[in-house]
């Protein structure tokens, strides 16, 4: 029976709450409604409204109380309903969630998982299609994960909840309906390992979250043109698996980073910089970036022109190969 990524994450929440009575799930509309994407569906029915509950409409409140709950000894999973609505919680995330364990010399642990559906491609209105990952990945003290497959949706969510470090768990919302035939539960590679999703020899596409699938489609299209494309799924954005990135580069000599977030200071900048820092002599071409533009996220009717797609990536492959 096929499972979607949304269902896989739901199953992970279910199983984690079953496995550990300290796990709590809360946020806006996650209880009776089961979340606006139904990712928390059934949790309140199964675990009661003390373990899965709705909060008042206040994201800083959600994050700050999650910190207090964690200090007490619970393992909170807090949902930010959409990417763009994680910003009111920025202060609590950056000044406390990320820093309090360090501030306390490790005496305070904050095993908080922050679930954030993110990214575009679903025709939503403004503030519902943001890609805030660079804000979090620049912030020391946070771990940042994002699954590109339903399997990882399950396994990485379990890992995030088990982690004693705070984890920003970015769910690629346009892939909630992506299917897999895998049986759950499933355990994939640890999150800090990037995984080669497709082998290839000419060029490496480095992607994560929603763009993993787009990269795979591009690789197939390129194959028709006789180009052998490797696809690396980063999975964890903080830490970044630099050694694996370098291995890939050594194989193909060419890398292209793909993400939806704006180009300037997006993840592509860090990946490219690390590659040239540590594998300088292996670069046969500059590391290229195929990303969102340096503009606010566009309205629904124009998002297809903004988002990286197969054609734009194919062009970049051509450019890379032309070096």
């Amino acid at each position: 029976m096929a499972t979607t990524m949304g269902q896989a994450i739901n199953a992970a929440l279910m199983d984690a709450m079953e496995a550990d009575p300290k796990v709590l799930m809360f946020g806006e509309d996650v209880g009776q409604l089961g979340g606006v994407f139904r990712v928390t569906d059934g949790l309140q029915a199964k675990f009661g409204d003390k373990r899965c509950f709705d909060t008042p409409l206040a994201e800083s409140g959600i994050m700050g109380t999650a910190i207090g709950l964690a200090m007490y000894g619970w393992r909170p999973i807090a949902e930010m309903q959409f990417d763009g609505f994680s910003y009111p919680a920025f202060e609590q995330i950056v000044s406390h969630l990320a820093k309090m364990p360090n501030r306390s010399r490790g005496t305070v642990k904050l095993p908080v998982t922050v679930r954030i559906p993110y990214g575009g491609g679903i025709g939503a209105v403004e503030h519902h299609s943001e890609s805030p990952e660079a804000y979090w990945a620049h912030t020391a003290g946070l771990k940042v994960m994002t699954p590109g497959t339903p399997e990882d949706g399950y396994s990485m969510m379990r890992e995030a909840i088990r982690s004693d470090d705070p984890v920003i768990f970015l769910e690629p919302k346009r892939r909630y309906w992506m299917k897999s035939d895998a049986d759950l539960p499933i355990e994939t590679e640890p999150a800090h390992k990037a995984v080669v999703r497709r082998e290839g020899t000419d060029v490496t596409l480095i992607a994560y979250g929603p763009m993993v699938r787009t990269a795979m489609e591009t690789a197939e299209a390129a194959e028709d043109e006789g180009i052998s494309v490797e696809v690396l799924d980063l999975r964890s954005l903080s830490p970044l698996d630099t050694p694996t990135m370098i291995e890939c580069l050594k194989r193909t000599g060419r890398a292209i980073v793909i993400h939806e977030a704006a180009m300037t200071l997006g993840m592509g900048a860090e990946v490219a910089t690390r590659l040239q820092e540590r594998a300088f002599y292996h670069l046969e071409a500059p590391v290229l970036r195929v990303t969102g533009f340096d503009t606010p996220y566009p309205p629904a009717k124009l998002e297809e022109f903004w988002l990286p797609d197969v054609d734009r990536i194919l062009d970049a492959i051509e450019r890379s190969l032309s070096y």
Binding site: E28, D29, G31, Q32, L33, G34, V36, D54, T55, P56, L57, A58, S60, G61, G84, F85, Y87, P88, G123, A124, V125, E126, H127, H128, M263, F293, D294, T295, P296, P298, P299, A300, K301, L302, F305, W306, D311, R312, D315, E318, R319
Partner: protein, 366 residues
């Protein structure tokens, strides 16, 4: 701080929300809330509500037909919106959330433009300075600060205008309206905080939103008077708002109004309200419908007849038809516009990105 603590109690809301019109149209005079509306204005309020409902319904249809990505209906809240906006002067500013079609229509904001946000041709499509109607704000409660800053600005400029900001029961929990009311109180800014308490924030009912006796009890914490009205009673809402607006205009400072109403439709067209509320509850709420109530009142006063009904129906239909046509005809927009408004002076930006997109649009390689 007002050192006279015992006088402070005047900032508290009344025990019962102000209510002038019964569902059957019976009008209760209230000397504290006299009506300064003539017959034409009474009919106008009714007309605006009917047109609002019609256009709202059309928007839902357009969404079902795939013409809008999503839509947030104001059905059931017409009185609250129309009456409050009607209590303003045209030079006053409105800062809406995403649900204020009724207030927009009072201001003659073109609904076709307004709905472009939901259609996704652009992030907005009206010039706020044309109708003194700010852009719709999606991040909950954030616009309360813009309204407050605007009102501060008017006062610094000795300009006797008032700004009014709409947000919901859920919005009262966010930090921004709290900070806005704090600033408004301190700077005595002419801003009216108009809260449509429609009982839900998506699926979350009021008692999960706050333990306050009423939302209007929040106002005293900012030194602001808290008012309450039956938000499905167009006359009560008008009277209460009018008083608050003129009080603000005269320099007496901000006010907070809680209008009790009910969201008859889903939160948005993406929502499934059967998951969190019952048909019985809906049926009960329908009995307090603001439009029927006003029609009953007009009928009792001999201000309503078939001719008026036909005229208004026709006008509502025409408006809806225009909206429908306008939406269907709206061009999807020019992708190159993505780069046009990010900066007034874009020197140094978009190097290569603009060219890349232009090349793609020409079908060439980048």
């Amino acid at each position: 701080m007002n050192s006279n603590v015992s006088e402070a109690i005047a900032l508290l809301p009344p025990n019962e929300p102000v209510h002038l019109l019964d569902p059957d149209g019976t009008y209760h005079e209230d000397p504290e809330h006299p009506l300064d509306l003539d017959e034409a204005q009474l009919r106008e309020l009714y007309r605006l509500m009917v047109v609002t409902r019609k256009v709202d319904r059309e928007a839902i249809n357009l969404q079902r037909q795939g013409q809008l990505g999503v839509y947030a209906s104001c059905m059931g809240q017409e009185a609250a919106q129309v009456a409050s906006a009607y209590a303003l002067k045209t030079e006053d500013w409105i800062f809406p959330s995403y649900r204020e079609l009724g207030a927009a229509l009072v201001r003659n904001v073109d609904a076709v433009g307004l709905l472009q946000l939901y259609r996704g041709t652009w992030l907005s499509d009206h010039n706020p300075y044309e109708h003194n109607f700010a852009l719709m704000a999606i991040p909950i409660g954030t616009q309360a600060l813009h309204a407050t800053g605007f009102a501060m600005g008017a006062r610094f400029d000795d300009n006797p205008l008032v700004s009014m900001v709409y947000f919901g029961d859920g919005g009262t929990s966010e930090g921004d309206p709290h900070e806005a009311m704090t600033f408004a109180g301190v700077f005595k800014s002419p801003v009216v905080f108009f809260v449509q308490n429609n009982q839900y924030a998506i699926s979350v009912p009021l008692d999960r939103q706050t333990a306050a006796p009423t939302l209007a009890h929040k106002a005293i914490g900012y030194g602001i008077p808290g008012y309450r009205c039956d938000g499905n009673d167009v006359l009560a809402t008008y009277a209460v708002t009018r008083r608050a607006v003129e009080r603000a205009r005269s320099g007496e400072g901000p006010a907070f109004i809680e209008a009790l109403t009910y969201r008859m439709e889903a939160h948005t067209t993406s929502d499934d309200p059967t998951r969190y509320r019952t048909q019985e509850e809906l049926d009960e709420a329908a009995k307090t419908d603001p439009i029927a109530r006003m029609r009953n009142f007009l009928t009792q006063r001999d201000l309503y007849d078939d001719a008026l009904e036909n005229e208004i129906e026709q006008q509502a239909k025409d408006t809806a038809t225009t909206v429908r046509a306008g939406i269907y005809d709206a061009p999807h927009g020019d992708p190159m516009e993505l780069f046009d408004h990010v900066y007034v002076d874009p020197t140094g930006y978009f190097e290569g990105q603009r060219e890349l997109l232009a090349a793609e649009l020409e079908g060439g390689d980048a």
